[in-house]
C-alpha cells in the first residue's frame, strides 16, 4: 500500500474510532488516536494475515498489549475485513462481541485476551518461541503503551526474549508520554526507553510513530538484527489528529460531547 493509501486508511480508521466511541459513550480515544498510524502500518503494510483464514498456523501474530485501546483494533480489523463494519455499532452494547478489551474467542483476528497491562509481551515471547521451535517464518509484533512498561512482567519477558534470541519478535512502544492520570515522567519516569531495552540485549530504533515510511522501515525484515528481539520506540501524540485532544492527559478516556464530536469529525474530514 502506498503512502497516500496508508494515510487515507488511517484517516478512515480514526473516523471510525471516533464515531464508535461517541456512539458507545465510552472508550480510550486518546491512546487510540496515538496508536492508529502504527496499527494501519502493521495491518496494511506488514502483517501476513488473511481475513478469510484468521487462524492460519503460518500467519504473523499481532498482540495489542494496550488492550484498553480495543476500539482502535476493532476499527482496524473492520477496515481489514476481519469483522463486519456493522459490528462496530455494537461496541460495548449488552452481549456485544466487542467488549471494552479484546477477546480472542469472540473476535476473529485477536490472538490473546488483553486488558490488564503487561500481558502482551510475555505471550508474544511464547508465540515467537513456538515459531523458532518449528523453524517457521511467521513473525510476532506487539504494541504496548509507554506507561504500561511500568508493569514488571514486561521486563521478565524482555529478559527471556533476549535470552531466547527471538529476532522474530518486534515490540513497538506507543510512546505518547502520557498515562491515565498524569505524564509518564511525573509518574514513574521510564525515558529513555530504548537504552533500557538495549541494556536488556535488544536491538532498538526510535521513530516518529505517525510517519508511515519510518514505521515501515523500522519493522522491515531487512532491519532485523540476527539473534536479537527488536524494540521500536515510536514517538507519538495522544489524541493525534484531533487538535483539542492532542497531548492532553484528560483525553485518556474522556468522551467527546456533541459539539466536540462534530469538531473532531470536521478536522478528520479536513485531513482527507
Amino acid at each position: 500500500m502506498d503512502l497516500a493509501s496508508l494515510t487515507e486508511t488511517a484517516r478512515r480508521i480514526r473516523v471510525s474510532d471516533l464515531d464508535t466511541v461517541f456512539a458507545a459513550g465510552a472508550g480510550h480515544i486518546g491512546g487510540e488516536m496515538s496508536a492508529i498510524d502504527i496499527l494501519t502500518s502493521l495491518y496494511f503494510g506488514v502483517l501476513r494475515i488473511d481475513p478469510n483464514n484468521p487462524t492460519d498456523p503460518k500467519r504473523d501474530r499481532f498482540v495489542l498489549s494496550k488492550g484498553h485501546t480495543a476500539c482502535a483494533l476493532y476499527a482496524t480489523l473492520a477496515e481489514r475485513g476481519f469483522i463486519d463494519r456493522a459490528l462496530l455499532k455494537t461496541f460495548l452494547a449488552p452481549h456485544s462481541r466487542l467488549n471494552g478489551h479484546p477477546n480472542r474467542v469472540k473476535v476473529p483476528g485477536v490472538e490473546t485476551n488483553t486488558g490488564p497491562l503487561g500481558h502482551g509481551l510475555p505471550v508474544a515471547v511464547g508465540m515467537a518461541k513456538a515459531a523458532k521451535l518449528d523453524r517457521a517464518e511467521w513473525r510476532v509484533y506487539v504494541l504496548c503503551g509507554d506507561g504500561e512498561l511500568q508493569e514488571g512482567s514486561n521486563w521478565e519477558a524482555a529478559m527471556a526474549a533476549a535470552q531466547f534470541e527471538l529476532d522474530n519478535l518486534t515490540l513497538i512502544v506507543d510512546h505518547n508520554r502520557l498515562q491515565q492520570g498524569a505524564s509518564v515522567a511525573d509518574t514513574n519516569a521510564l525515558a529513555p526507553i530504548a537504552t533500557k531495552f538495549e541494556a536488556f540485549g535488544w536491538a532498538t530504533a526510535e521513530i516518529d510513530g505517525h510517519d508511515f515510511p519510518q514505521i515501515l522501515s523500522a519493522v522491515d525484515q531487512a532491519a532485523v538484527v540476527a539473534g536479537k528481539p527488536k524494540c521500536i520506540v515510536a514517538h507519538t501524540h495522544k489524541g493525534r489528529g484531533i487538535s483539542f485532544m492532542e497531548d492532553r492527559v484528560e483525553w485518556h478516556h474522556r468522551v467527546p460531547n456533541r459539539q466536540q464530536y462534530e469538531q473532531a469529525r470536521r478536522e478528520l474530514e479536513g485531513a482527507a
Binding site: E111, T112, G115, H119, P122, G126, M127, A130, L133, A157
Partner: protein
C-alpha cells in the same frame, strides 16, 4: 499402610508420563521457572533440550509464555512450585489462560505443605480456592502414581486449560495400575453406609486408613477419592449425602475455598446434611514437615476417625 509400605513421590510418575507423551507428540513442551530440579525435568531436558523452555525466575512471564506457545500450536506443560505458579501468576492464569481459553497445562509442583519447614511462603494451600473460581480450568489433585500418570495423559489429550496439583510427599499405591482419570468423576475406594469421606491428593490414603480404624468399631465409611476438584462430581456427592447422611472432607489445603467448600456448595443446594471440613484451619502453618502438619491439623488416621465419630453424633 504400615512401615513397610512403599511410598512414592508423585513427581516421578508425573515426569515419567510426561516423557512418554512427549516421545509420542512433539507438540508437547515443558516450561519452567528455573525449576528443572524441583519439577524433575532433568530427564526431559536431556532428551529434548530445545523443548525445555526455562524462562528463569519469572512466573508471570512463564504463564504468558505458555499461552503464547499454545497459540503457536504447542502443548505446553508449565511447571513450577505451586505456591509461585498459582499465586505469583494468578492474573496471567486468569487472563492469558482461562479467559483466553488456551490449551495450557499448569503443573503446580510440590503443592500443599510439601515444602514443610520452609514455611507458609512456600506452602500452596490456597491454589484450589484461587483457581476454582476461574471458568474453564480443570483442577486435578491425584492421590498416587497411577492416578498421576492417568491425569497427565488425560490432560495432554484434553484441549483446554488444566491445573495438575502434584505433591512430593510420599504416598502409597492406592488406585489400580490401569486406572483412568475422568474429569468430574470420583472413584469410590470403599463402600460404607454410616458416613462418606471425600478426599484427594495426599489425604486419600489417610482417609482410607481412618475408614479401616472405624470399620473395626463397626462403623462403615464410604471413601471417595475426588481428584477432580473442578468440575466436581455432583452425582457422587448427592448420592453420598442421601445414602450415608453425613460427609467428611479431607484435603491438604485451607478449609476455605477448597475441596470441602466445593462439596459443601453441592450439598447445601441439593441434599443438605451435616458436614465436617478438614484441612489447614485458616492459619499460617507453624514450622514442621508436611506429614507433621497434617497430623497437627487433626488429619492423622486417628484424628480423621475421631472427627468422623463426632460427625456421626450430628447425624439426623
Amino acid at each position: 499402610m504400615d512401615a513397610t509400605t512403599p511410598l512414592h513421590d508423585c513427581r516421578d510418575a508425573f515426569v515419567e508420563a510426561l516423557q512418554a507423551l512427549a516421545a509420542e507428540d512433539n507438540r508437547i513442551v515443558a516450561v519452567c521457572n528455573d525449576s528443572v530440579g524441583s519439577s524433575k525435568l532433568g530427564g526431559f531436558r536431556d532428551r529434548w533440550p530445545e523443548r525445555l523452555i526455562n524462562v528463569g525466575i519469572a512466573e508471570q512471564n512463564m504463564v504468558g509464555v505458555g499461552a503464547g506457545l499454545a497459540n503457536g500450536s504447542k502443548v505446553p506443560f508449565v511447571c513450577g512450585a505451586s505456591c509461585f505458579l498459582s499465586g505469583r501468576a494468578l492474573e496471567q492464569i486468569k487472563t492469558d489462560i482461562a479467559y483466553s481459553e488456551v490449551n495450557v497445562k499448569l503443573c503446580g509442583m510440590s503443592a500443599g505443605m510439601a515444602y514443610g519447614e520452609l514455611g507458609p511462603t512456600h506452602h500452596s494451600v490456597e491454589d484450589f480456592a484461587w483457581l476454582r473460581v476461574l471458568p474453564g480450568i480443570t483442577i486435578i489433585a491425584p492421590a498416587d502414581p497411577a492416578e498421576t500418570r492417568s491425569a497427565v495423559r488425560w490432560a495432554a489429550g484434553h484441549h483446554g486449560a488444566v491445573f495438575l496439583r502434584i505433591s512430593r510427599v510420599g504416598v502409597p499405591d492406592i488406585l489400580p495400575p490401569g486406572h483412568t482419570f475422568r474429569p468430574g468423576k470420583a472413584d469410590q475406594l470403599c463402600e460404607g453406609s454410616d458416613l462418606t469421606m471425600i478426599a484427594n491428593g495426599t489425604l486419600t490414603h489417610r482417609a482410607l486408613a481412618a475408614a479401616n480404624l472405624l470399620r473395626s468399631e463397626g462403623v462403615t465409611a464410604r471413601v471417595l477419592n475426588m481428584a477432580s476438584v473442578s468440575p466436581i462430581d455432583r452425582e457422587a456427592i448427592v448420592s453420598a449425602a442421601r445414602e450415608t447422611g453425613v460427609i467428611l472432607t479431607c484435603e491438604e489445603h485451607s478449609v476455605f475455598g477448597g475441596l470441602g467448600s466445593a462439596v459443601a456448595e453441592v450439598v447445601v443446594q441439593t441434599a443438605p446434611v451435616p458436614m465436617h471440613i478438614m484441612g489447614v484451619p485458616g492459619i499460617f502453618a507453624p514450622t514442621g514437615s508436611a506429614n507433621f502438619l497434617l497430623d497437627e491439623f487433626g488429619m492423622s488416621p486417628t484424628g480423621i476417625a475421631e472427627a468422623a465419630r463426632l460427625l456421626l453424633k450430628r447425624k439426623a
